[in-house]
């Protein structure tokens, strides 16, 4: 069975500063990897996903993530955050193959951007 760990429950960052959110996964095979964001009182919005190829993937709103097979990690980054990036960020994995496409989520990281 796969699992996902986001070690940082809360992160506070100043507007304009860089952001990195950590994600580590455990899986017997390389899964599909996702980052989703949840704004207050909203559902989940996809930021980016990875399965193969270039380990650095670009997403929406200036986000990117880097996959590391050796570290079983998929960290999310943004070079310069804006106040509107305040939200909860979830890392998720899905095993390849099959029809289910079921996601396993991490615990989430609450990001607060301060001015």
């Amino acid at each position: 069975a796969q699992s996902v760990t986001q070690p940082d429950a809360r992160v506070t960052v100043s507007e304009g500063a860089s952001l990195q959110l950590r994600c580590k996964y455990s899986s017997s095979v390389t899964p599909y990897l996702f980052w989703y964001v949840q704004y207050p009182r909203q559902g989940l919005q996809l930021l980016l996903k990875y399965y193969s190829g270039d380990p650095v993937v670009q997403g929406v709103n200036g986000f990117e993530a880097e996959f590391s097979k050796s570290n079983s990690s998929f960290h999310l980054r943004k070079a310069s955050v804006h106040w509107s990036d305040s939200a909860v960020y979830f890392c998720a994995v899905s095993l390849t193959g099959g029809l289910s496409g079921k996601l396993t989520f991490g615990e989430g990281t609450q990001v607060t951007v301060i001015s």
Binding site: F34, L44, G108
Partner: protein, 114 residues
């Protein structure tokens, strides 16, 4: 932006009452998922469908929870007899399936059981 539509946004029920929520998946997406997100941001997969057929469901879903995705109608999730522990955000998601595996989520239905 996701085009998965969930109604209602908020649902308040007493214990023992039925609670029903609906989901219209993104057009062309044959696979629909229901997740429960609790106040601690823990996600629980409930059930998924491909077209009208159930692919997987958890044991909890088989007892008080029922779900369907009829042809040409919104999908629905119904709790037959609500309990306080059912208070959560219920998220519907859809995908193309078949290996694409990207889930697109709706805004959710916030259920409060008094």
């Amino acid at each position: 932006n996701s085009k998965v539509i969930q109604t209602p946004r908020y649902l308040v029920k007493g214990q023992g009452q039925k609670a029903k929520m609906r989901c219209i998946p993104e057009k062309g997406h044959p696979v629909v998922f229901w997740y429960q997100q609790n106040k601690n941001n823990e996600f629980k997969f409930l059930i998924n469908f491909q077209n009208q057929e159930v692919l997987q469901q958890i044991d909890m879903t088989e007892k008080r929870f029922s779900a369907e995705c009829p042809s040409n109608s919104p999908c629905s999730l119904e709790i037959q007899s609500s309990e306080a522990g059912d208070s959560a955000l219920y998220l519907c998601a859809s995908s193309l399936g078949g290996g694409a595996e990207t889930l697109y989520f709706g805004s959710g239905t916030r259920l409060t059981v008094l």
